[in-house]
Symmetry: D2
Subunit: 364 residues, 4 copies
């Protein structure tokens, strides 16, 4: 590869962690030196950009991290430079720290910044692009809800965890003739519940995009029993909605209970099923198991490709763009066109069709 | 093997399910025909013995079940023949159904019964032995709390699940500089938390046998932070006790909340840590994941050995005994000597010593 | 779903087994009854069609098979009705048994046949379609070399096995400063080696589509050593070609040695590396591990979708077609258009680009 | 823990790598600082001791290595100080480098050396103890053939790999009605084949301690076929012996073919079975997969305990001893009493009994 005029490149990981982040960091850092670039790893997402915390990354630093979950750079959910919380006495004030972020970018003599993150991260990137920074985005979400890319890394690994959990729960449910409810991630988009439920052999899948009828859920369990299937597995997205389109657990309550994951949809669904069907019912909340651990091959490969293409975009000076998978090809889209568009499960989705075909109920 | 006078043998699985039950069933059924015996699989534990539900088991029925979790015979937590609940109107009456159990044993012409289960199952066996049945017990517990056997199958598989979960949580915790609390099984005995915590690299382990000080838990998290470790993993047994020896979550509350696993120790510990250390804290409750799924090699091998030795005891007419692992040898003990003795983690246990050595805190 | 005029449907699995076959069988059988169809499972691929061996499949037969590798129907590599070997004395005569196949189809009163298999199976299907049978094809290949579908089930699971193996070999190679060669499947197409090698962190990938220079392979190993990396992992497809485009191991020799997997490319590459670099070198041949075992979520989901769409095509009377994944959508193509077209790794493939970016050598 | 007079401790890993080595290194290094000791990690086993290569190990170096296979210190099969090969022209001369080893030990001011390894390593340790070094041994072997300890870490992980492989091969074998031979490690002791074969559901197990009859092997395959089982799984230790007690593959040939694993017992057994039973037969050689990768919980826990007890022995000045598991307790034995005693599978072993009970043939 030819030498590029881009000499110093920054990289950060924003938002919740996700299997494959390290594979992107490796996929960026390894080729960088062939391009004659040095790589700065900015710590804890935009927090490190604002606070001026970074380390130089060499091949040695990224050696052996392909298989590791999480991010060696650290991440933070709080570090939006444009909405930076400062505690003054007992109040929290929100200030704008974008200038600090830009100053650090300049102090480090960065020619470009590769930002890996979800929709929130891309919103921040978009504003920084408008303020003149050379940014390339790499999309990340275990939820698979970014419209601008067909899929991204993290989702396949999350679905793998759900599948393995349902495989395990299946043996207990069938031995004890129980209903088991498995609560999985997905506040607005039901992809994890849909794909995990199909892969793990769930009998009922509840997702935000298809509001369900409580009665239909009970009916499905009864019907299975009549057919000699004395157990049922329910895979419920945390943001699933019941009749009328109301979330079963209000969004503010999901948020409020986040650190302790109590009273979530799994518990509510389990209680209602036990009360209304008389079947012994248990619940398992997978929680953070879904975002940790070693990535699947699909995620390792896609993340590596994304990293390699991001650094190529950088070398070509194509800034303000986000890499994306379109069909079988990796392309790039303008960051400003990529943000704010959520990809939800459509009713005519082929996975929904297949799920219904094999008898999975969505409670409708 | 010589022909035995024992011609018809029953087998049942009582209590909660556990990886390895099917391996025992296979380990009993396959040799039985060499002994010239036929095998009756009694369904849903003692419930099937009382209600007269059983199927004949042949080699084909047990082919391919070695790797499968759960029990092909079904189980039931409710089926104590001596305390049989009958619903009369809105009341539940407890009656004694032992005569029915014995009658079915006789109707099926059984010469012996192999009962696989935990301490509850062995108590029932003991009473039935005294009433004249030819019973051989096979111990089963994921909790590892049976004193009469050094270890039994199920525990290693449960520990494997905890280890895999902690491996996953580790990446998220370290990426986000969080505390993550992982709640595992163990109401009275802390073996799963102890072994799973060591294997999964926990920083703090809380078990019933070692009442912990809240302050010492917070101190450990602070101390780690001072050493540059901004995250901590806590592995808490559901029955862990705090200062004064009180269970953090009362036993009746563990029981009451069982179907919905709310407000368990994981949540309480997470809330307290977050409040008192200011560290972002999350909780994961492994729940039934710990008892489902394919057994580990250790459990498959031990369960197979137990099955083979149980059927040999039967062929020799050595009834009223339970197989047990003593050191490296499989032996048998009298069922009456085996029951009611719980094996708890002793303070001078070598695993506790090793855990402390490598810096794991028990909150003391 | 409306009742279809198709009442009796046959299903068979041809060619080598592959994770996901059972998921297709389940994906066909479960919806069939909603369509009012009965399903005949033809045993051992086309062998069963010629020899008239089949069993009726009900929901119970396909319950719990989603997670199981292999095929409950059995398969056979030998059963081409148009080239049917008959042993006469010490000679093998090839005869045409297509009439028998068609007669059995008619005797069973089949209205349609769903055939799951690779290119060989689809060739047979195409001839039978021309002779009037109502066939729907479902593509299957762990090699990912069917041009008519972007990908099919089985490949992701094979890549998973390669990745897990390389993860394991990595620790040994690095501890002992060794070169380890991992031989993987792929006689003509290098997809398994390419994707598995990227996912598993290989340093050198050798595939049939990119003939390699022995000297470049040795150079890469030397270069790594100079950089302080004293070990290297080589992922070699069994059909990899060296300079001049010759297969390192002749096709007839791969075939001849198949039952004993000796003298394959792994051994040849290892010997040459050890001789020419002086580095201690070991070889592992993954062999049939790559086609067995429980499918990954990707394969379970895709196979389920393929099954559901195949039965829908049947219900609509759309015969002579093969289901296929195109971009993100499942469509169908004419079987006659699907056959005989191999999808090879192109030099400008994005995975090859990404692999080179992160420093993986293809020996060129 | 009280301060010990031991201030500087060395640690090395000798012989073949094995899952759990890193857990021991961590288990030694973490407590060392509580004892007020500093830890020197000697590189590449005794090679580093002779050549004077070592690094200081701190808590940070051992953080996160619990789950990693291999050894962060590197190992070497060649580094026997008492038999040190030097190449002079085209000859290899063997010299004694023990003085260099001792000089480095003294130069580094070591007060004690913890050596982790198998029987070969312990032999070297024994000589060095006699020359005055303060050594504590930690036994390591995936083969489980050390008589002085009931079991050690590494074996359970190797058995896990064999089990997972047999689980995978099972689906292919049954789908294709084939015989599959799986060659596993074990030149003199058959523990891996025995335990792995039981755990993975093998039909035939061939081990060095029980010479097998070829005819009995063919008979077993025939017999299974008569019972409708058209496939068979054979688990063969590389050193298995046939009638007359001869190794099927001579020891010098195992050694000679080691780098390329050709013509091993798997291939020989497969060829003979195919020729004599007419059944299609395949072979898989697990090779180095058996010693790599993340350790199982059993191995992580045992290795951690061994590490913690080794450092305690050091602090107490109890040198010349090797830690060992006896029953359920970790004790120590004199190194001189531990060496040269191989633990073989005895004919009356309970695992052999159980295996035979469930119909596994040893070819006798």
């Amino acid at each position: 590869m030819g030498k590029s005029r881009i000499r110093r490149i920054g990289i950060l990981t924003g938002g919740g962690d996700c299997p494959g982040l390290n594979a992107v960091i490796r996929g960026v850092t390894k080729p960088a030196q062939d391009y004659g670039m040095s790589v700065y790893g900015i710590l804890d997402g935009f927090e490190g950009l604002v606070e001026g915390r970074a380390i130089e990354l060499t091949n040695n630093d990224v050696s052996g991290i392909l298989a590791r979950g999480g991010t060696i750079l650290g991440s933070s959910n709080k570090g939006d430079p444009f909405h930076w919380p400062i505690e003054r006495g007992d109040k929290t004030e929100i200030v704008n720290k974008a200038e600090e972020a830009i100053k650090n970018y300049q102090t480090w003599n960065l020619d470009a910044l590769i930002a890996i993150g979800g929709d929130g991260t891309m919103h921040i990137c978009n504003k920084l692009v408008q303020m003149g920074l050379n940014i390339i985005g790499v999309p990340k979400t275990i939820d698979n809800d970014l419209d601008a890319t067909d899929i991204t890394f993290g989702h396949d690994s999350a679905v793998y965890v759900v599948m393995m959990a349902l495989d395990r729960l299946h043996t207990t449910a069938s031995s004890h003739h129980r209903v088991i409810v498995c609560e999985v991630m997905g506040r607005y988009a039901g992809w994890i519940a849909l794909n995990g439920g199909i892969a793990g052999g769930a009998d009922i899948i509840l997702i935000p995009e298809i509001p369900f009828s409580w009665q239909k859920v009970y009916d499905k369990i009864h019907k299975r029993q009549l057919m000699g299937k004395k157990f049922s597995l329910v895979c419920a997205a945390e943001g699933a909605k019941a009749e009328g389109g109301e979330m079963v657990v209000k969004e503010k309550d999901i948020k409020r209970t986040d650190p302790i994951q109590l009273g979530g949809i799994g518990a509510v669904v389990a209680k209602n099923i036990e009360k209304n069907t008389g079947r012994e019912t248990r619940v398992t909340v997978l929680g953070h198991l879904q975002r940790g651990g070693s990535p699947t091959p699909f995620d390792r490969i896609l993340a590596t490709k994304f990293g390699a293409f991001a650094i190529e975009l950088a070398s070509l000076g194509k800034f303000g763009r986000m890499v994306a998978l379109k069909g079988n090809e990796i392309k790039s889209v303008k960051i400003e066109d990529a943000i704010g568009k959520q990809k939800l499960v459509q009713p005519d989705n082929q996975a929904v069709f297949a799920a219904k075909s094999i008898g999975i109920s969505f409670g409708v």
